[in-house]
Amino acid sequence: MKRYILKRSGYCLLSLILLSLTIFFFVRVTGDPALLLVEPGASDADIAAIHHQFGLDRPIWVQYGLFVWALLHGDLGQSFYYQTPVMELYLDRLPNSLLLAGVAMGLSLIIGIPSGILASVRVGRFWDNAGKIFSLLGLSLPSFWVGLVLILVFSVYLGWLPSSGAGGPLHLIMPAFALGWYFAASHMRLTRSSMLEVLGSEYVKLARLKGLPESLVIAKHAFKNALIPVLTLAGINLVIMVNVAVVVETVFAWPGIGRLLYEGISFRDFPIVQGVVLLGGAMIVVVNLVVDILYAVIDPRIRLGS
């Protein structure tokens, strides 16, 4: 077991090193941040001064070396645009992102799990389809458009909810829904397939043979077991949500990490892009690692298999 964990952790580290290399060089071939901080027509001296200020006048390997060296000391560098440490900006936004993702996840499960159960248990064509289609609709509309329509309906016409920004719980409703709806379908699908699997298992058959009422079989025996993979996926999706909320955060002016990353990209703010991608990557890699290890603990075959 110990060896397995060590090996898996080693792989994770390797992935992260690869990621740091990829993002570092990749972001540097896509544009020059200095040109975005001045207007076209600025003097060469001004542009050179900016390059010097950001250390972009050094050889690229030196830049990478310095970046890694700072990284080892927990320093992600200073944002070009904000002139503030990236770590500070990131930690500042992280709670907002977690809050948004958490609530969005809750909404997504509230939509996804019941419709998944409905789709797996015969309750009638209408409800089955209605639940499924509602979940799939979230996947079928671009979230920027969903967001805008929500704002128009609930802020502008009805006047119930604030249009944008962070603040009280009311500010959360629309962005969380726009984000959560998109993920509902994946939870619906997994709930359905794992429900089907559990309902077909010997264990449930036994419960039925015992003469338990169907509703009890479903609620107590099947659902409880089917929930485990769904919650695992939810954990992974939560991390993904934190990192993909770019569009929703932009539409709703939600001060989260997604928008930080998008601003970083727009201004070719290398330290922000590097920092956010690396920290996000680390989160994804670590969550996957934990899931793998947990599965390995539960099921020894996996350990041997790999």
Binding site: I133, F144, W145, S193, V244, V277, G281, V285, N288
Partner: protein, 299 residues
């Protein structure tokens, strides 16, 4: 598909519980299929169907509403956009972009992902290690970030979008296919083929590939939706299919500003088109999954 595989497949299937399977899923999803066929036909015959040139408009004819509203005319059945172009014609031609992007991007992703997945799963060893580390790295890189960077490098064009989406989404195939291959490798027919002295290449091509193709197709159907939504989102971020080419995603993001003023037809029509196409593709995918490959889960 080789005969032993079929037999083994049947033998190894989980107990049948068809009665419990969603009722509608057993029956063919007729409406979604018709919608998809309809969109494909429109894409093919856009030239014949469209009443106007989709890329040329006159500023004098801006924001004409659909024909049934006051101020609308039958010349522009679904109204005109912010530059006076015919919305209907743009929608018809837009189907072409969506179909081409949807199918080819998924195909690009599928070919790369399936290929690497088979190599990784079958060959194992360092090949597996390299491919899997690459996949992990790719997965950790946010798809939109990656797509924006690529489009900044590659420049705007529909084909670049196809390539960008293809190399953004191959990882999903690689992971699923690798998993399938790992279990196929242990099957009798593959072992027999090895004993019979088939080369690795032949085994992968003749015995492995045909057995994972179902999963790839199911996954592909489900990915069409993801790809089309991403294409629209790229337009929102200003790096999608370049104007004035008509594309639903672009129309949606260009027209959204008009929504508040009451020019709803600029976005509602392309929005509905995207919605119907993606929804239909997903329903088809769900149905195919149950029919072809009930093992496939977390998609």
């Amino acid at each position: 598909m080789s005969a032993p595989a079929d037999v083994l497949r049947l033998l190894s299937r989980p107990p049948r519980f068809a009665a419990l399977r969603g009722l509608d899923l057993r029956s063919f999803p007729l409406i979604p299929a018709l919608i998809l066929v309809g969109i494909a036909l429109v894409a093919i015959f856009a030239n014949q169907l469209a009443p106007h040139n989709p890329e040329v408009g006159s500023l004098a004819a801006r924001f004409k509403p659909p024909f049934w509203l006051k101020g609308g005319s039958t010349e522009y059945l679904l109204g005109t956009d912010q530059l006076g172009r015919d919305v209907l014609s743009r929608l018809l031609f837009g189907a072409r972009v969506s179909v081409v992007v949807g199918i080819t991007a998924v195909a690009v992703a599928g070919v790369i992902g399936t290929g690497l997945g088979i190599l990784s799963g079958y060959l194992g060893g360092w090949v597996d290690q390299v491919i899997m580390r690459l996949t992990d790295t790719w997965l950790a890189l946010p798809a939109l970030t990656f797509a924006i960077f690529l489009s900044a490098i590659a420049g705007p064009s529909m084909w670049n979008i196809v390539i960008i989406l293809g190399i953004t989404y191959w990882t999903r195939y690689a992971r699923v296919i690798r998993g399938e291959v790992l279990s196929l490798k242990e099957r009798e027919f593959v072992r027999l083929a090895i004993v019979a002295g088939c080369s690795k290449w032949t085994i992968m091509r003749r015995h492995i590939l045909p057995n994972v193709i179902n999963s790839a197709i199911v996954l592909g159907t489900l990915m069409i939706g993801v790809v089309i939504i991403t294409e629209a989102t790229l337009s929102f971020l200003g790096v999608g299919v370049p104007p004035p080419q008509p594309a639903w995603g672009l129309m949606l993001s260009d027209g959204k500003q008009g929504l508040m003023v009451g020019y709803w037809w600029l976005t509602v029509f392309p929005g509905l088109c995207i919605m119907f196409m993606v929804l239909s593709a997903n329903l088809m995918g769900d149905w195919l999954r149950v029919k072809l490959d009930p093992q496939l889960r977390q998609l």
